[in-house]
């Protein structure tokens, strides 16, 4: 305005223009700055959210992946590589192993097979964590040091039939008779018998270094002659001396297959040998010598072997895991009884806590007059909600287990849990009931309904979805709880018999598996089940969309 008024005085005009310009510039700078800050802030916020998302995806992804797919780095004396069919070490002919289809077995090494045939162990558990009796079958033509329980048959077909029908049975038959087992429902299991023989010099300790293991890629490179010094694969500074097995021998064929080369491509640096005895001697004698060899032969000749490291992947959690009882602290078997215990625990907890919780919520929202009592109850509920679960555990331990003499068991545990999740149910129910518009109550009362009638017929039905959501969330919490159960519910992994029996549930099971280092695969599987339950709880609770009034 003033600019317009002052147009007749050019001097003022200029100075005002300058002033306006400088103001304009200042505003422009400020404006640009705030725009930049805006962009920066947006990026930061996006990143934070992305990080949160990433954390969850990683945790869930990692555990579920591992839960369904075991993927472990293992070390063994035996080479586990490709499809090599090996002869049984104590037999000259190629043989194969056939196994009853209920036995969960994918491969076996020579040692294990031998001990199975000897009848020690007599249970599959040690081999594949499956609680089954071992029933070995062999042909009468077979040679070997068999155990008492080993059953001898005189033809391949009868072995196949027996293996097919008897749970836990397996048999050894000549590879040449492989076509005879066609049509039987059984599994053929590859047997590993090869190891990596080295000269003792390879395993010496120098500069704090020692050759400890070798993996498939290293082995391949060595066999192809691509590596010339042990240093290159983590060993001491020592040239590799590759010893090539006698041409045409079993080891020779395995060599070619393991290296993935033809006879013509055998490395020039390799030292050829003529017969098995020479082969063994060369490996032992030469500095940095290495050669693949049957473990039994190596043992027989006091030859040092390198550990073979390989990655074992496979299915982890499978249907049977859910339906089999755990054995031997969960090392063996599934989690069926643990799931059942968990269900008992949840049902009992819901049974105890829901009526009390809803009742308390109804009292607080509908009956209580604003005053000291309500304040105390509310404070009590909030305090209860904030108490760490370990203190609940202690309390349950003294009161339910000790004082009330209920013992460590289902009842003590669920009572403890009941107290723990009570605030959750009270609070969500209270919210759900509060969310029912006051006008509903007024409407009902104005029609001449009584208070309880109003609550029972109008308020609670209207609040039901919200209350149910609360109960489900509480269930989620109960299922995952561990600390409170440590001293109250115990660790017995059998199915509970009565209310006083100690009972292991999924969470405590997982804790035991990890703490005792029993089996990480089992732990992952158990964790996956827990996570699936948590996911289900979440889906359920969000599906029950709370009604908007």
């Amino acid at each position: 305005m003033s600019i317009l008024l002052n147009t007749q005085t050019p001097v003022t005009d200029i100075s005002i223009e300058a002033l306006v310009n400088s103001e304009q510039r200042k505003a422009d700078t400020h404006y640009r700055k705030s725009k930049r800050a805006n962009t920066l802030a947006t990026i930061t916020l996006w990143s934070a959210a992305a990080l949160t998302l990433a954390i969850l995806v990683y945790i869930l992804g990692f555990i579920i992946y591992k839960g369904f797919r075991s993927d472990n780095i293992l070390e063994t004396d035996y080479i586990n590589y490709g499809t090599i069919e090996s002869p049984l070490p104590w037999q000259s002919d190629d043989t194969i192993m056939i196994v009853n289809s209920d036995v969960r077995l994918k491969e076996i090494n020579g040692d294990n097979l031998e001990s199975l045939l000897k009848g020690k162990p007599s249970n599959w558990g040690n081999i594949n964590e499956q609680d089954l009796d071992v029933i070995p079958y062999v042909l009468d033509t077979a040679e070997g040091n068999f155990g008492k329980k080993t059953i001898i048959k005189n033809d391949v077909e009868s072995i196949a039939a027996a293996v097919e029908n008897q749970v836990g049975a397996f048999g050894i038959i000549p590879a040449a008779d492989a076509d005879k087992i066609d049509g039987y429902k059984l599994n053929v299991i590859p047997v590993w018998s090869l190891g990596i023989g080295v000269s003792p010099t390879v395993l010496e300790i120098k500069d704090n270094k020692k050759m400890r293991f070798i993996d498939g890629d290293m082995l391949k490179d060595i066999l192809r002659g691509n590596i010339s010094n042990w240093q290159e694969i983590g060993g001491i500074d020592l040239p590799i001396t590759l010893v090539i097995p006698p041409a045409g021998s079993y080891e020779y064929n395995a060599y070619l297959e393991l290296a993935g080369i033809s006879e013509d491509e055998l490395p020039d640096t390799g030292i050829s040998t003529g017969n098995p005895a020479e082969y063994i001697e060369q490996i032992n004698k030469l500095d940095g010598g290495i050669g693949i060899i049957q473990i039994t032969a190596a043992e027989a000749n006091d030859m040092k072997t390198l550990k073979y490291q390989y990655r074992k992947t496979g299915r982890n959690i499978q249907m049977w895991f859910l339906f089999e009882e755990p054995k031997r602290a969960g090392r063996v078997g599934g989690v069926s009884s643990i799931i059942i215990n968990t269900i008992y625990m949840v049902l009992l907890t819901v049974l105890f806590s829901t009526p009390i919780g809803i009742g308390a919520a109804v009292y607080l929202t509908e009956y209580a007059k604003q005053g000291r009592l309500v304040k105390i109850i509310r404070l009590g509920t909030e305090t209860l909600a904030g108490i760490p679960s370990i203190i609940f555990g202690l309390f349950g331990f003294i009161v339910f287990v000790d004082y009330m003499n209920l013992g460590i068991g289902l009842l003590s545990g669920t009572l403890t849990l009941t107290l723990m999740i009570l605030p959750t149910i009270v609070r969500t129910s209270e919210e759900a009931i509060k969310a029912v518009p006051r006008s509903f109550r007024a409407g009902s009362l104005a029609l001449g309904a009584g208070k309880w009638q109003t609550i029972y017929k109008v308020v609670i039905p209207a609040a039901a979805p919200g209350i149910l959501t609360g109960v489900i969330l509480a269930v989620g919490r109960a299922v995952g709880e561990t600390a409170a159960l440590l001293f109250t519910m115990g660790f017995d992994y059998r199915r509970v018999e009565n209310l006083n029996t100690s009972a292991r549930v999924l969470s405590t099971h997982l804790y035991q598996l990890v703490k005792e280092g029993i089996s990480f695969d089992r732990a992952f599987a158990t964790a996956t089940i827990l996570i699936v339950i948590v996911l289900a709880v979440n889906v359920l609770s969000t599906k029950l969309v709370v009604r908007k009034y």
Partner: protein, 304 residues
């Protein structure tokens, strides 16, 4: 006429029954409501009852400020829990340090930046994070975090840092939830008011919305603190559980909760009592935090 008479009688009966029922229902409901209070009372009574007798044997000062935990030493058992208190505080503060900025920013993202679908995704993310049992976090910590620490910084990997990281993840949902709820429950008109004045989104969030949500956010952080302090299983599995004074982020540590769990299985006599005494300390810590949440939360309601 007969019909109306009958109707009247039916109704009168209904009225009489109603009155009798009302009273008994109210009593039953009151009892339900009192369960929580009674529980808290019982918990206090028993915890204190079991824990306080320790002070016959050990002085309060020695207990709280003693740095030596050697209950099994038959000749001279020592019950100093200072390392555990310090450990708890270290781990809790560490967790908050990590979780608060991320949590608040994520919440702001959800409340203000994200579109409807992204919000839904993030909501379920947060809900899931909150739903994952602590024992799984612990397991994850053992397998992943400890390994990460071990491979990055050396050592065993079981440390204050591992515990803080895993706890940070665990309290993240608490902070996000409460912050987001507080921000979204601010009237939309406040945001519109700022935007309509020509404020940028950034200015609106940080000059208007976050200050308005301040007390809610603080309440959330304090609540998260309580969670972290009370958490047992996860830290138990990743923090190393050595009864020593933590010396740094990579040092092994034992918290109050861990101390209770670790020894409870076999402790007896004074040792067992000392564990209950430890739980008294924990209980008091939590009570103080809860009270402060109540005080902080009380404020915005008064204004609104």
């Amino acid at each position: 006429m007969i019909n109306t008479d009958k109707k009247k009688r039916v109704m009168e009966k209904a009225i009489k029954n109603r009155a009798r029922k009302e009273k008994s229902v109210e009593i039953v409901l009151l009892i339900c409501a009192l369960v929580s209070v009674i529980s808290v009372l019982f918990i206090s009574v028993f915890i204190f009852g079991e824990g306080l007798p320790l002070f016959k044997a050990v002085s309060v000062g020695d207990f709280l400020f003693g740095t030596d935990w050697a209950p099994s030493n038959e000749e001279n058992p020592r019950y100093g829990i200072l390392p555990f208190i310090v450990g708890s505080i270290y781990i809790t503060l560490g967790a908050l340090l990590l979780a608060v900025p991320i949590g608040i920013m994520t919440a702001v993202f959800m409340a203000e930046i994200a579109d409807k679908r992204a919000v839904e995704v993030m909501r379920s993310v947060v809900q899931l994070l909150a739903g994952i049992p602590s024992v799984i976090y612990g397991f994850f910590g053992v397998i992943v975090i400890s390994k990460l620490i071990r491979e990055t910084f050396g050592g065993t990997g079981y440390s204050v840092l591992s515990g803080a990281i895993i706890l940070a993840i665990m309290v993240l949902p608490t902070i996000i939830n409460i912050t987001e709820v507080t921000i979204t429950s601010l009237p939309k008109s406040i945001k519109e008011g700022s935007l309509a004045l020509g404020g940028t989104r950034w200015q609106t969030i940080f000059k208007v919305q976050l200050p308005a949500a301040k007390s809610g956010i603080i309440a959330g952080v304090v609540l998260a603190m309580g969670r972290a302090l009370g958490e047992t299983m996860a830290v138990l599995m990743v923090a190393g559980n050595a009864p020593i004074m933590p010396t740094g982020p990579l040092s092994k540590v034992r918290t109050l909760t861990m101390n209770i769990v670790t020894d409870m299985g076999y402790a007896s006599g004074d040792h067992r009592t000392a564990l209950f005494t430890t739980s008294i300390v924990l209980f008091l810590f939590i009570l103080i935090l809860n009270l402060s949440v109540n005080i902080i939360k009380g404020n915005p309601e008064e204004i609104a």
